[in-house]
Amino acid sequence: MENSHTDEPKNQKKLPRWVIIAAFAVLLGFLTLMGWGLRNAQQGPVQVGQKVPAFELTTFDGEKIKTDDLIGKVIVVNFWASWCKPCEQEAAELEDAWRYYKDSGEVVFLGVDYVDTETEAMRYLEKFEITYPNGPDLRTAISQIFRISGVPETYIIDKNGKLASRKIGPFVTIGEITSMIDSALNQ
């Protein structure tokens, strides 16, 4: 009986070293992926003062607008959707603000239609008589850049391409919009 106990450790086969290393590598890979995903999820929206990565908006008319070409101007990026009721609250004010700055040539408004149907989006634009460039957020690429958490959200980019201010939720008055734009213009 004693012999059997003393022999047992000798008979135990150990896993090859490469198997152990591979298992740890896979585990480490998974942990890295999870950590990366968690970091991205908890990162929140783009912070004020941060450089906003360049993006391209294809409008409903087919025009392509590159933010790279707009350096030196203040860009107002508004995320909206036709199914979003709070977006309707600020639609008229945004259009009024656009008309106010339009002739100065210093401010560009871009409407980004977040996960919407084109038919409903066009109806929305018509209803609120919106004239500034608007286009769909194809593959949600633009909203991912800004890491938006919902609609409406508005981001104001200064002349140097850095985020000057942001508004989560709808604007209540036109004064709120103009004060944010003016402050970006004066920077």
Partner: protein
């Protein structure tokens, strides 16, 4: 009599002619109704089932109750009426809203992990269980071999002692 027969056969021909016209009209009328019914809600939902609401958390489009989802179902219907196939509609949704709308993520990039890992982990698990069972079987066989009862001197001594005791009891 002859005149009556002729009139009757003329009447028969006319009747057959009108019946045929009526049947032809009925067929074309049915076709019109069928065209109006296309696509049915079931046909729309069959595609919507394979797509997820882009703004909700894990809700398939066919059962999603929001206004936005109703719009997307209407969009599917619109595209089907325009003659788009299921794959074309799914591709359109991917181009508009990204891969996340697909119930089954496309097998590319990191998505491969979703397809590869479950079978790999399953097969790996089976191998580990098999190896452990084999090890247990081997060690138990070894224990039986090593503890051969006939060769165990202690057991022999106990048996001899028991035999002696039994004999003593029998004698008394």
């Amino acid at each position: 009599m002859n005149y009556k027969n002729k009139a009757f056969s003329r009447y028969k021909i006319r009747l057959i002619f009108f019946v045929l016209i009526f049947l032809l009209l009925m067929i074309s009328f049915n076709n019109v109704i069928a065209q109006n019914d296309f696509p049915t809600d079931d046909q729309v939902n069959a595609i919507a089932k394979e797509l997820y609401c882009p703004v909700c958390e894990n809700i398939p489009l066919d059962v999603c109750p929001t206004q936005a989802c109703a719009q997307w179902r209407a969009l599917i219907k619109e595209k089907m009426t325009a003659g788009w196939t299921k794959d074309e509609i799914k591709q359109y949704f991917v181009e508009q809203y990204g891969d996340r709308v697909l119930a089954q993520p496309p097998a590319r990039g990191l998505n491969w992990l979703v397809y590869i890992m479950p079978p790999v982990v399953f097969v790996g698990g089976i191998v580990v269980v098999y190896l452990n069972l084999k090890k247990i079987k081997k060690s138990s066989e070894k224990v039986i071999q090593d503890s051969n009862i006939n060769n165990d001197k202690y057991l022999k001594e106990i048996e001899e002692a028991l035999n002696v005791l039994n004999k003593k009891e029998d004698l008394s």
